[in-house]
Amino acid sequence: MSDPQPKHPFILTRADHFITWAQKNSLWPFGSGLACCAIEMIATAAARFDIARFGMELFRASPRQADLFIVAGTVTNKMAPIIRRLWEQMPDPKWAVAMGNCAVCGGPFPTYAVLQGVDKIIPVDVYIAGCPPTPQGLLHGLMTLQAKVARSRPTKEILNPDARRTR
């Protein structure tokens, strides 16, 4: 591109809109559940609340193919390095959702064994409160994440990768 900081070239915004439309509508969650919130996450994927309507029902078991890491449950100190390694194995445009009070801030467990909040080890995009959050709460959180994905500018990152992430 001619000037390093293109204002809003017509082609780029169209491209952004198209790419984010695709990313927004096929966020494949990573099938990892830690505690009680995992049961509510599965209930959200089950028949009544059906996360598949948003194209998210392919719970990929391998981090390589997932692009949304829902941290559902209590992150203990013994589990923290594993959560960090799983996060790093996920390919790049990836998002993280801290589901439930335990993942958000340690929840009802101010003890020696619990990490007080998963954002100490991975960058979190959406925090969902609740212990456990009801499926409606989780769906609301995921829809705010979709809105956030729609606002991001992937082409800016592709064209000048060293620019700060526009997440």
Partner: protein, 364 residues
């Protein structure tokens, strides 16, 4: 060059370990030689935390132990505190507790049926099981407002009364479950592939099961007739008549049949409890700040996973000196190595599913 054994990690993150359990498997080309369960990835230090909370504050935390059967944990803890403090729960309260505990057993077994079938490949059964369970969660939500961590049994009784609307709604839910159960049974009971994957797998005899300290449906599948609701009745279970389904061989298929039969028995119990619901008080008079004289007590109940018990030592203040929880899954998991040795790798998944373990309860 002999194919040396692979050490495989069904690690803390694996689709079919029902949570954060890690299995160190030594596998010789699909045949399992050694299984070593590694736990502790969900250890939240509950017992340390309980020593710093008052009795009434501990009750909601017991929901997070076996998060598929929150009400059973509440019931066990409440019964232990009442035995320690000498609180007498009125008859209506005891009957409502039976209704809630048995509904929770239904929900736990239905969720288990879904998880186990999904591990062995029948994906649709997970959805049918969860759909049936959603109806029960709706009853809990209408009764106390929460779906999973219900906190619906308190020290001294139950927080709210069962009014007519809720009773008729429970009856409606109970009449809907046999139809869904028929779908699940039609898909699985006589299915050739299902029987190939479950009959004769994960065998444990009655003597070995008792020696390992197995309890609950896993023990009854080996033919041992031990159901705590019958042997040491609590919370007026002795006024309910129901029979205890027993297996014969103690393999994965028997554990599946025993739990399916228990679902039908639980429906029968809840209907009886609703029919004989006595009038009157449903909550005993419990002081707002409950101080309990020094003493120590051990009380157990028949939770969906097995015998769940609490040991509480009080020191006269409103906080317990020590609370120890006896977790059925913690002890049942020790027999996994015995069951899995010699089977194929894909059977370990089936056996783990049939054990119905929950990591929140194991790791505390």
């Amino acid at each position: 060059m002999a194919f040396k054994d692979i050490e495989l990690n069904m690690g803390p993150q694996h689709p079919s370990t029902h949570g954060v359990l890690r299995l160190k498997l030594t596998v010789d080309n699909e045949v399992v030689l050694k299984v070593e369960p590694v736990i502790g990835y969900l250890h939240r230090g509950m017992e340390k935390l309980w020593e710093n909370l008052t009795y009434t504050q501990i009750v909601p935390l017991t929901d997070r132990l076996d998060y598929l059967a929150a009400l059973s944990n509440n019931l066990a803890f409440a019964l232990t505190v009442e035995k320690l403090a000498g609180i007498e729960v009125p008859k209506r309260g005891r009957y409502i507790r039976i209704v809630l505990a048995e509904l929770q057993r239904l929900a736990s077994h239905l969720a288990w049926a879904g998880f186990m079938a999904n591990d062995i490949g029948a994906m649709s059964v997970l959805l049918y099981g969860f759909e049936a369970r959603e109806d029960i969660l709706d009853v809990f939500e209408e009764y106390i407002g929460a779906r999973l961590t219900v906190h619906g049994i308190r020290i001294g009784g139950v927080p709210r009364d069962l009014d007519e609307a809720l009773v008729s709604r429970i009856r409606g839910v109970l009449s809907g479950i046999p139809r869904r159960l028929k779908d699940i049974r039609a898909l699985l009971d006589e299915n050739r592939i299902w029987k190939q994957r479950t009959v004769g797998i994960g065998l444990i005899s009655a003597a070995e099961a008792l020696d390992f300290g197995l309890t609950g449906p896993a023990l009854r599948a080996s033919g041992v007739n031990w159901d705590l609701r019958k042997s040491i009745p609590y919370s007026s279970y002795d006024e309910m008549d129901f029979d205890v389904p027993l297996g014969s061989r103690g393999d994965v298929y028997d554990r599946y049949l025993v739990r399916m039969a228990e679902i039908e028995q639980s429906i029968r119990i809840v209907n009886q409890a609703l029919d004989k619901l006595p009038p009157g008080e449903f909550m005993a008079k419990v002081p707002r700040v409950l101080k309990i004289a020094p003493g120590q007590v051990f009380q157990t109940i028949e939770a969906p996973k097995g015998v769940l018990g609490f040991t509480i030592k009080s020191n006269g203040t409103d906080k317990p000196e020590r609370v120890k929880m006896k977790s059925p899954s913690f002890i049942n998991l020790q027999s996994l190595e015995h069951m899995c040795r010699g089977n194929l790798f894909s059977d370990v998944v089936g056996i783990l599913g049939s054990m119905d373990i929950v990591l929140g309860e194991i790791d505390k």
